[in-house]
Amino acid sequence: MTPLDFDAEVLTPRMARIIEARDMTAQERFFRLQLPRPLNHRPGQFVMASIPGIGEAPISISCGPRHDEQLELLVRNTGSLTRAMHRLQAGDFMGIRGPFGSGFELAEFEGRETIFVAGGLGLAPLRSLIEPVLSDPQRFGRATIISGCRTPADELYREQMQAWARRPKARVIRLVNDTAHQPWDGEVGLVTAPIAKLEIDTPNTLAVLCGPPVMYKFVIMELAARGLSNAQIFIDLERRMRCGIGKCGHCQINHVTCCREGPVFRFSDLESLPEALT
């Protein structure tokens, strides 16, 4: 037989043991997994996560790059698979394939200021880049994290964000649309609001956005008003991949596949992709 020049298990996940599972909000459950071997992912990449017999879906990697066997995911309960995942406990198993996608080039952020704008669950994938940037203030410039969600009860990574605010060269702005009569120590408003008042070094700044599609247009308008060009803005897009290897067709945006060329795109590259943000 001819030797295989392809991975026979390309569509077959490896089973990872859950070593920590807890609800972060009523909708989102946090998982720390022990993989059979290191993933060696880049920030902004995703995995195909599954429960055999139930299904598989793309989930953003929410921890910074690491070379051990651990992986962190934040899963929103939004369908039959993620509902089943919300019942998984430490000791249970989850299937993982990947990592997939282009992700962020860390070198691009060296010596630069970065503005992170996260809407809701968008904070999870951005965390994979925020962590390495904040952990090396010698290498990376000032980081501003603007994170918004609906109400205080929906906020993700609260203690983590409070800890980030104490790091050198870090600014953290936490917002809710509505306090909903809950205790709240952050600001009230949309993620667009703080951008106009930020002190920034425009030519040396990059912005990274992840959130619901409706958020991008307005955030980009605010960033443009501060003088940022489209080449200085990165967007992490959402599509429902079925394979992760550019074959199933579901994540195609015009002539590119989100799973391969994306899900992270430079905004100037999206100008030729009119389907990207609508």
Binding site: A8, P52, G53, D92, G95, R240, H255
Partner: protein, 362 residues
């Protein structure tokens, strides 16, 4: 490259004999005017058309085989892996790779080109092991076309009519109810060496004989050369043509299902009904014309308008995939989508309308 010459009957008998040892797929009659690539049995009715066949006299035509033969390489509900779970909740997963040898015979140049394009797609970047395993164990026996299939055919316009790459054996009709058999690969040579047909030394002359007999013009042709069609479709984003052709579309996805270069899929998990601790994951054909195709978690649809989905389908065939792979049109001109569409929407007409709209633009 070796050639052989024998009668059509001898080739059909050979295929029937091979069909007793392995899976041989050949167009078998389904009804009055439809054929299906099914397994050849000892008494299957098999036929090739005559060298002097008049248009429409073919025993089977590419577009009357509703499912393209290439779909045998990525079957619907194809199993990806099996799993079982033990008492400790630990899983065992086994990928399913189909290594059975098989033959697809009687396929036409348009379908052959489509398989070549699918080979490119599935070996691009991260390869699809399931497709490639099946493909490597498949022998392709293609058959030249001297007459267009029917009024839907436009294979010559898309550059597929003279396609031979990918075939292990290529058959060309000859006078006196004979066929020229050419081995184009080592695998084809091995197959033909075992068959015991009479060697043929004048291959080029025999091919020229068939070329003279080929209908001219062959099938439908666009109102411009193929490269102009590709350039025009590539440059057409906002165009009233996209709206015109969806006015009567039901968004049923038949055009996707019958297209030899549609390969999108959805994934489905199942438990075994008699053993809930085991099951399988499989993939089934999906189509970008279906309304739910671009829906993401939470319900947002990135392509809700029918015209946008139609544009997406046409641009994949005539703009985006040609640009990515540099291997010409991904529409091979088989005519199936127009033939099978219940409301006669035809990619050929859409392309011509886009050409006309571009010409008319000041």
């Amino acid at each position: 490259m070796r050639g052989f010459l024998t009668t059509r009957t001898a080739v059909l008998d050979w295929l029937r004999t091979l069909g007793q040892q392995e899976d041989v797929f050949f167009p078998l009659p389904l009804g009055e005017n439809s054929f299906s690539f099914d397994k050849v049995r000892q008494h299957s009715r098999l036929a090739f058309e005559d060298f002097d066949a008049a248009p429409g006299e073919k025993p089977f035509r590419a577009s009357s085989c509703v499912q393209p033969p290439g779909k045998k390489l990525s079957p619907n509900n194809e199993q990806i892996f099996r799993f079982s779970k033990n008492a400790h909740g630990e899983y065992q997963l086994t990928p399913t790779l189909d290594e059975r040898p098989r033959i697809i015979a009687g396929l036409r140049p348009c379908d052959l080109k489509a398989i070549h394009l699918m080979d490119r797609v599935h070996s691009d970047d991260i390869a699809d092991a399931h497709y490639l395993t099946r493909r490597r164990n498949t022998t392709l026996i293609a058959h030249d076309c001297l007459q267009p299939c029917d009024e839907h055919c436009f294979c010559d316009a898309t550059g597929s009519l003279r396609w031979r790459q990918g075939a292990d054996i290529f058959l060309t009709p000859q006078p006196e109810a004979k066929l020229l058999l050419e081995a184009l690969t080592e695998r084809g040579e091995r197959r033909l060496d075992d068959a015991g047909f009479a060697p043929c030394s004048d291959i080029e002359e025999r091919r020229a004989l068939a070329e003279e007999k080929r209908a001219q013009p062959f099938g439908r042709h666009f109102d411009a050369p193929l490269q102009r069609v590709i350039d025009t479709v590539s440059d057409s984003w906002e165009s009233p043509v996209w709206d015109k052709h969806v006015e009567r579309c039901f968004s049923c996805g038949t055009c996707n299902l019958v297209c030899p270069t549609c390969y999108c899929f959805d994934v489905q998990d199942d438990y075994n009904i008699d053993d809930p601790d085991s099951g399988q994951r499989s993939r089934r054909w999906d189509g970008c014309m279906l309304e739910e195709f671009a829906v993401v978690a939470g319900g947002h649809n990135f392509r809700p308008q029918l015209a946008a989905r139609q544009r997406h389908r046409i641009k994949r065939k005539l703009a985006w995939l040609p640009a990515r792979f540099g291997d010409g049109s991904f529409c091979v001109g088989c005519g199936r989508c127009g033939h099978q569409c219940t409301v006669d929407i035809d990619i050929f007409d859409i392309a011509n309308d886009l050409l006309a709209a571009t010409e008319a633009r000041p």
